[in-house]
Symmetry: C2
DNA sequence: GTAATTGCAAATACTTTGCCACGTA
DNA sequence: TACGTGGCAAAGTATTTGCAATTAC
């Protein structure tokens, strides 16, 4: 099994979640997709549709988000997106406003410095950021 | 009347929209608030609640977004947010995850360079970005 | 006069919860 | 055994649309 899946499940165990089949499949699905997914996408995915109800996926995502293991993103669609948070890993996204494709950007994120500045100047705690680029991809143009 | 309102209404006229009372009030409301607002907030605002139906506000926002005069933002809430786009003006936002306050950041945005790079490397058209910082504000901490 | 715009109400879409059965620790 | 989890179905909230009446141009 993918070691990142194992690590992530272990993190779940540490915060008190139980190791269930649905939990493992959810994490594996999010990790394999490599991009944020909606609740509906997740619930309809091969691994999860045979495994459990949409409400279960919803509650799992909710718990995981509460423990900082996934993050909920608003990517302009009506539905919320969820992405796995992997320690030491930060992704920004490039989204096509025409076909809706979502791609993670690996380029070094230029925002950290401003983030530190904001932390100092405003006194905000637990600061993090979300950065998305929107445009029309070559295929759609 | 605020000259920015006038300019914005003029832009609307240029793209073929009719000058209605609701249009002016919507633009004035968004401008005065200085921050993105949800459809519900807008429809319930003083100027608009007496002026028109929520569906009208919705359709106005939709048209304005289609013409690049407002932008729809996903700020983690269940409801979508809408912000006025003023040429030559770009805002990023600082959002408290506890009380939900939203504040525009005026600091020079460090992302433009990366944006240019992405434009060149990927061939995306009409590229723009959205940057938000989330954290817990001093009041809530 | 004509086409865009509006109000009202109804239909959708996505999310969230209640309740009881079930499985993990 | 005990309490977190899961399924199913119902409720909640936000968005979107149909259609006839109205209004800007």
């Amino acid at each position: 099994m993918n070691p990142v899946i194992k690590e992530t499940v272990d993190r779940c165990r540490k915060v008190g979640l139980r190791r269930t089949k649905a939990l493992e499949e959810l994490i594996a699905t999010l990790l394999e997709s490599g991009r944020p997914m909606t609740l509906s996408e997740l619930a309809a995915s091969k691994r999860l549709s045979e495994q459990c109800d949409k409400a279960t996926v919803f509650r799992l995502l909710q718990r995981l988000a509460g423990h900082g293991i996934v993050r909920r993103l608003g990517l302009h669609e009506r539905a919320a997106y969820f992405a796995l948070l992997i320690p030491g890993n930060h992704s920004d996204y490039l989204i096509c406003t025409s076909c809706g494709s979502i791609e993670a950007i690996q380029a070094p994120c230029p925002v950290h410095h401003l983030e530190d500045e904001i932390r100092e100047k405003t006194g905000f705690r637990n600061l993090y950021h979300e950065l998305e680029f929107f445009g029309v991809c070559p295929k759609c143009a």
